[in-house]
C-alpha cells in the first residue's frame, strides 16, 4: 500500500516538472516561443524589476491574445537576478542552454553589462532597460536599449537649463554607483561643452542617507540649479534635506525625478518645480501613453510609469521582430530588431549601430508631484 502511494507521488512529481522542461527543446518550430525576462524581483532594486515585468507581461499577453507569433504562443518566463551581476551571468548561461530566443531586461546597467558577453556568444538578442552609456560603448550587435542613454538625458537637460534659461551657477550632487556616476560624467561633459564649470561637485555613496555635510557645502555657493544624479529614493532624500537646509536652487535631474517615488520621498512641496529630463514624462503626455496607462491599470490596478512603459516598448519591438523572423532567434532576430521602426510610448525607435533606439528626451516640470511638459506652461 505504502509503495503504491510513493509510486503515485513520484509519477505525479515527474508529470508536474515535465511540460516547461521538454516543450522548448523538443519542438523548436511548433512549440511556444520562449522569451526570458530577467529582472530583480527581490532586494533593493526589486521595485524596478516588478514594474519592468508588468510592462513586458502586458505586451506579451496582448500578443498572445491576438494569436501569438504566426500561430505560436509566446512563453514568457521570469527570472530573478536580485540586481546582482553574478546572479545575472549565471542566468545568462541558464537561458542560453534552455533554448530561449531572446531576453528582456534587466533594469540595472551593471547586470546587463555583465551578461552582455555571454548573450553575444550565445547569439541571444537582449533588449535592456539600462541606460548607461557603457552599454552603447559595447557595440554588441545583440544588445539593444529601450531608452536613451544618460548622455541624451543630460544633454537635453543642459540645453534647457543653460541655453534656454541661462543659468550659470550650477551645483552637482551625485552618487558613485553605476547610474549616478554615469549621470555625473554625462552632465559635466554637457556643461563643459558650454564652457561652464559647476560651482560645487559633491559625490555621495549610493547607500548614504544623511547629506547635511554635502548640502551645507553646496549652500555656501548659493547655486541657481542643483543637479541630482541618483536613483528615485536618494534623489528624494537629497531634495528634502536640501530644502530643510534652506537651499533655494531649482532641482534638476534625469528620469528618476519624474517619478512618484521621488516626489513623495522629497515631499510634494519640496519637489515642486523640479526640472526633469525624460523620454516619458507622464501617462497623460500622449494619446498612446493614455491608452497604455488604461490597459496597465486594468491589468494591475495601479498607475503606469516610465519603467513599465519602456519595458512595454521593448517587448513590443521584440514581438514585432519575432513576427518577421517567424519565431526564429539568433542573428536573424537581432537584424530584425534593428530594422523595427516603431512609434513607441517613449518616442520614435530607430536603432543605430550602438543599439540605441531613442535619441531624444523631453523636459518636464514637476507640479503637485506629477511631471508636465515644460512647453505647456
Amino acid at each position: 500500500m505504502r509503495l503504491t502511494i510513493v509510486a503515485v507521488v513520484l509519477a505525479a512529481l515527474t508529470a508536474c516538472s515535465a511540460p516547461g522542461e521538454t516543450s522548448g527543446s523538443a519542438g523548436e518550430a511548433t512549440g511556444p516561443i520562449k522569451i526570458a525576462n530577467i529582472n530583480a524581483q527581490s532586494g533593493q532594486l526589486s521595485s524596478l524589476g516588478k514594474w519592468e515585468n508588468k510592462g513586458v507581461k502586458l505586451a506579451v499577453d496582448e500578443a498572445n491574445k491576438a494569436g501569438g507569433v504566426n500561430g505560436r504562443q509566446i512563453q514568457l518566463d521570469l527570472f530573478d537576478d536580485q540586481g546582482d551581476p553574478t546572479v545575472g551571468t549565471n542566468l545568462a548561461r541558464k537561458i542560453s542552454s534552455e533554448g530561449y530566443v531572446a531576453m528582456l531586461g534587466t533594469a540595472e546597467s551593471a547586470v546587463t553589462l555583465a551578461m552582455a558577453p555571454i548573450l553575444k556568444t550565445a547569439k541571444i538578442p537582449n533588449i535592456t532597460s539600462g541606460q548607461s552609456p557603457k552599454l552603447a560603448d559595447l557595440k554588441s550587435p545583440f544588445l539593444f536599449l529601450n531608452a536613451p542613454t544618460s548622455v541624451t538625458f543630460d544633454e537635453t537637460l543642459a540645453k534647457y537649463l543653460v541655453d534656454e534659461k541661462a543659468y550659470k551657477k550650477i551645483a552637482l550632487i551625485s552618487n558613485n554607483g553605476a547610474y549616478g556616476s554615469g549621470e555625473h560624467d554625462a552632465f559635466i561633459k554637457s556643461l563643459k561643452s558650454r564652457n561652464l564649470t559647476p560651482v560645487a561637485d559633491e559625490v555621495v555613496t549610493p547607500e548614504q542617507k544623511d547629506f547635511n555635510s554635502n548640502l551645507a557645502k553646496i549652500r555656501q555657493q548659493n547655486p541657481e540649479v542643483l543637479f541630482i544624479g541618483a536613483e528615485e529614493v536618494q534623489s528624494g532624500l537629497i531634495a528634502k534635506q536640501a530644502r530643510e537646509l534652506g537651499v533655494k536652487a531649482i532641482f534638476a535631474g534625469g528620469a528618476p525625478m519624474g517619478t512618484d517615488v521621488y516626489a513623495t520621498t522629497a515631499g510634494l512641496a519640496n519637489a515642486e518645480g523640479s526640472v526633469v529630463s525624460s523620454p516619458y514624462l507622464s501617462n497623460e503626455a500622449s494619446p498612446a501613453g493614455k491608452e497604455f496607462a488604461t490597459k496597465y491599470k486594468a491589468a494591475y490596478g495601479e498607475d503606469a510609469e516610465l519603467h513599465g512603459a519602456k519595458a512595454y516598448d521593448g517587448a513590443s519591438i521584440l514581438i514585432e521582430a519575432l513576427k518577421k523572423t517567424g519565431g526564429k532567434g539568433g542573428q536573424e532576430l537581432a537584424d530584425a530588431i534593428r530594422g523595427v521602426k516603431r512609434d513607441g510610448l517613449l518616442g520614435q525607435y530607430n536603432y543605430d549601430d550602438f543599439g540605441v533606439g531613442i535619441h531624444e528626451t523631453k523636459i518636464g516640470l514637476i507640479k503637485q508631484g506629477k511631471a508636465f511638459p515644460a512647453t505647456a506652461s
Partner: protein, 289 residues
C-alpha cells in the same frame, strides 16, 4: 564653521537612531550572549507598522509608535520562543536562526506591503529652526528627544525594577541566576521583547526621515551593529555613545571623503576596534559564547 555645525546636526540625528538600534543589539547580547541578526529586519517591520497606522488610520504619530512597539515586541517574543529549545545547546544554530528570521521578516514585508516601499510624510511639518544660518529640522529634535526618553526608561527599568535586576543578574551569570530562582528563559524573552521594542522606536523614527521599504533593515542593522561594537558590545551606555559616535563619523566622512565615505567610516571603525577590541565601555564578563 557653518558646514561643521550643520554636519553635526545631521550626525547627531542619525546617531540617535543608530544608538537605539545598537541598544537593541546589546540588550539581547548581554542577556543571552547572542547576536540577533534579525534585528535590522525588526527595525524595518517597526517602520512599516508605525507608518501603516500613521498613514492609513490617521492616528497621531505617538499612537502609531506605540502600536508599532506592541507589534514588534510580539515578534521579538516569537523569535525567542522559537530559539529557546536551542539555548545553551547549539549556539551556532541560534545565530543562524536569527539570520533566518531576518530573511523571513523581509519576505513577509514584501508579501504584506509589496516590494516598492513608501515615503512617510513628516509628522511635524514646521519650518526648521534657524540658528545663525545653521538649520535644525524640528523633526530632528523630536528624534533626539524620543531616543533620549526611550534610553532613560530602559535605564530606569534595568536599575530600579525587580525584573530589570533579574535581567542584569542573568547577564552577569546565568547559572548563578538560575540558582537564585530567576527564570532564565523568561529573562531572555524579556530581552528579545525589549530589543524589538527599541527596534520599533528606531524604525518609527527613521521612517519619515528615509523611505520605508523591505530592505531598509540591511544598512541600519549593519550600522547599528557596528555602533554597538564601537561602544562596547553588551554595554548600554556604550551603545548610546557608540551610536552617536558612529553617526558623527558617518556624517563627517561624507563631507570630507565624498564617494569614499563608507570606506573611511569602516576603516576608522576597524582601527578603533583593533586598538580597543572591547569597545569604549567594553565589559569582558558578558561573553558567554
Amino acid at each position: 564653521m557653518q558646514v561643521f555645525l550643520q554636519t553635526l546636526i545631521g550626525g547627531i540625528t542619525f546617531g540617535a537612531v543608530y544608538a537605539l538600534v545598537a541598544m537593541g543589539f546589546s540588550i539581547v547580547y548581554r542577556t543571552m550572549g547572542l547576536v540577533n541578526f534579525a534585528h535590522g529586519s525588526v527595525v524595518m517591520i517597526g517602520a512599516y507598522a508605525a507608518s501603516t497606522f500613521y498613514m492609513a488610520s490617521r492616528v497621531p504619530f505617538a499612537v502609531a509608535i506605540v502600536v508599532a512597539i506592541v507589534v514588534t515586541g510580539l515578534i521579538g517574543l516569537i523569535i525567542e520562543r522559537f530559539l529557546r529549545p536551542l539555548e545553551n545547546k547549539d549556539f551556532t544554530l541560534m545565530l543562524i536562526g536569527t539570520i533566518g528570521f531576518g530573511a523571513v521578516l523581509e519576505a513577509l514585508a514584501i508579501l504584506i506591503w509589496g516590494a516598492t516601499g513608501r515615503a512617510v510624510p513628516n509628522p511635524v511639518a514646521t519650518e526648521p529652526l534657524d540658528l545663525g544660518g545653521v538649520r535644525i529640522p524640528t523633526y530632528s529634535l523630536l528624534v533626539i528627544g524620543v531616543a533620549a526618553l526611550a534610553t532613560g526608561m530602559l535605564a530606569w527599568f534595568l536599575r530600579r525594577t525587580k525584573l530589570g535586576a533579574a535581567m542584569q543578574a542573568v547577564a552577569m551569570d546565568h547559572e548563578a541566576a538560575t540558582a537564585c530562582g530567576i527564570h532564565v528563559g523568561r529573562s531572555n524573552a524579556m530581552a528579545f521583547g525589549i530589543g524589538a521594542c527599541l527596534a520599533a522606536v528606531a524604525g518609527s523614527l527613521i521612517g519619515p526621515m528615509l523611505y520605508v521599504n523591505p530592505t531598509m533593515g540591511g544598512t541600519l542593522g549593519i550600522k547599528g551593529f557596528a555602533a554597538a561594537m564601537l561602544g562596547g558590545f553588551g554595554s548600554m551606555p556604550g551603545a548610546i555613545v557608540g551610536g552617536l559616535a558612529f553617526g558623527l563619523l558617518d556624517a563627517f566622512a561624507a563631507g570630507n571623503f565624498q564617494g569614499y565615505s563608507d570606506l573611511v567610516t569602516f576603516v576608522v571603525f576597524a582601527l578603533a576596534v583593533m586598538i580597543r577590541p572591547t569597545g569604549i565601555f567594553g565589559e569582558t564578563t558578558v561573553n558567554r559564547a
